[in-house]
Every structure is written in C-alpha cells, then in structure tokens.
C-alpha cells in the first residue's frame, strides 16, 4: 500500500498512538485518566517491542508496567481520591514555558541525535535474540553479577518502603531531634 510495507504502516500507527496517548497523559486533568492513557502508551510501546521482535520483553513489559506499576499508581490515586476538581494546575505562564522548554529540547535533540547512518553493523537477518532462551543465557552468564546485586537494590527498596510506610507506634521517642 502506497509503497510502504505492513511493518512500516504498523510502526507509523503505533508511533502516532504512542505519542498521542503520551500527550494525553500530560494534558488530561483527571489523574485517573492519565493513568489509563499511560497504560495505553505502554501497550503501544509493547507493540513496538513486538515489531522489533523482542517478544519476551514485550510480555514482561505488559506484566510489569501495566500489570504492576500502574495498578500501584491507581491504588495510590484512589487512596488519596484525587480527581479533576482537586487537581491543581500550574499557572498558564509556567505551563507555556514548560512547553517552550520542551520544544527547545526537542529542537536540540533533533540536531544532536543524528549520525546513526554511519553505524557499521553486524546485521544478521531476522534476529532471534529476543527469545527467552537467548535472553536467559545472557542474563545468567554475562549479567550474573548485576542480577545478583539487583537483589540488594530490591532489598533496600523493600526495607525503605516498609520503614517509611509503617506508622510509628512509639511517638514519645526523640522524634524531634535532627
């Protein structure tokens, strides 16, 4: 169709949608809606992953983000029952300047992110690297150490979250010291 391959069509549509939803995330007033839009954006991105035949990653992506993180967000939003009315808005000038800054950033990035043509690649047909097998191999051989150390990270996050999250039972301790 019109000289474009199907993948190119898909790429176009997905990109368009992704950007659309992303913009909606930023510009809708109601937090709940933005969460939903963000989920949609993630779906589009997952689509891209598929196009890049990183199938396993796509799945994990959906599971982690849409499944876990976004739920968490929704949960908090509900908890604080935020809605369009309670949603504070920046002063128009602030928002405008934010937009301008974004525009500028886009401009300089467009200028600076060129030169990909000169990449000399080891292009090996339709790659199989996205499959669980390969990824697993790499992850547990080459990236073993990071994988292990990531556990420390999660542990830290765990402790931290608990420490912050749990209410203090002993008020009379020297809270007020620095």
């Amino acid at each position: 169709m019109l000289g474009y391959t199907i993948t190119q069509w898909l790429f176009g549509i997905l990109s368009f949608l992704a950007i659309m939803f992303a913009l909606m995330v930023v510009f809708t007033r109601n937090p709940v809606n933005s969460v939903l839009y963000l989920v949609l954006t993630f779906f589009c991105i997952a689509g891209h992953y598929l196009l890049l035949n990183a199938q396993f990653l796509a799945v994990v992506h959906i599971v982690v983000y849409a499944g876990a993180i976004m739920v968490l967000f929704l949960f908090i939003i509900m908890l604080m029952n935020l809605n369009a009315e309670s949603e504070p808005r920046k002063h128009i000038v602030a928002r405008a300047s934010a937009g301008v800054a974004g525009g500028l950033l886009l401009f300089v990035m467009v200028a600076s992110l060129k030169g990909a043509e000169q990449l000399h690649l080891v292009q090996g047909g339709a790659s199989q690297i996205g499959l669980v097998k390969n990824l697993g191999k790499v992850l547990f051989s080459e990236f073993l150490f990071p994988f292990e150390i990531a556990s420390v990270l999660l542990l830290a996050a765990l402790v931290g979250a608990i420490m912050i999250g749990k209410r203090d039972t002993n008020i009379n301790t020297k809270e007020e010291t620095i």
Partner: protein
C-alpha cells in the same frame, strides 16, 4: 534498517516520548503525575535500548531493559511510600505547596 524502518525513526520516537515525559514533569503539579511522566521517560529509554539491541543484534540491550524495569519498580515502591507519607503530613501532594525549604 530494522525490517524496513530506519533506526533514526526509533531514535526520534523515543526522543519525542522522552521529551513528552520531561514536559509532563515540568508542566504538572501533581506529584503522582510527575512520577508517571518519569516512568514515561524511562520507557522511552527502554524503547531506544531495544531498538539498538535489535540493530546491533545484541541481547545485552534487552537485558539492560530488565534492570531498568526492576529499578523502576523499586523506585516506584519507595516513591509511592514517600508520597503517601507526604500526603499523610501535608494532606496534599501538590509540589508547588511543598516549598518550605528554600533560599
């Protein structure tokens, strides 16, 4: 060319998403939304990484994405904990109202 799509397109796409995230961070006052925008930025990076990994036909890019996800999850966990605590004390998460510390 990744099955017919120039890598530049991917770079630009993720750049745009990234910038949208940045703009979101700048333009919103609701801490949660800001946080979500950060997530958006991270995802833009993820997309870029995946694209490159396919381009280089090298799995490590995608593995890296796993780590990003893990970190993101951890960050979100801690972050939301802190947010809820802030909400508990300030009764708001409007960043413009959290400006006691200044000068």
């Amino acid at each position: 060319m990744l099955n017919g799509i120039p890598i530049n397109y991917y770079i630009m796409l993720s750049a745009v998403l990234f910038i949208i995230g940045v703009v979101g961070v700048m333009a919103r006052r609701n801490a949660i939304i800001i946080f979500m925008c950060v997530e958006l930025m991270l995802n833009a990076v993820n997309l870029l990484l995946v694209a490159f990994s396919t381009l280089h036909n090298d799995a490590s890019g995608q593995v890296f994405v796993f780590f990003i996800m893990a970190v993101a999850a951890a960050e979100v966990a801690v972050g939301l904990a802190i947010l809820s605590m802030v909400y508990r004390n300030f009764k708001t998460i409007d960043i413009d109202l959290l400006s006691r510390l200044k000068n």
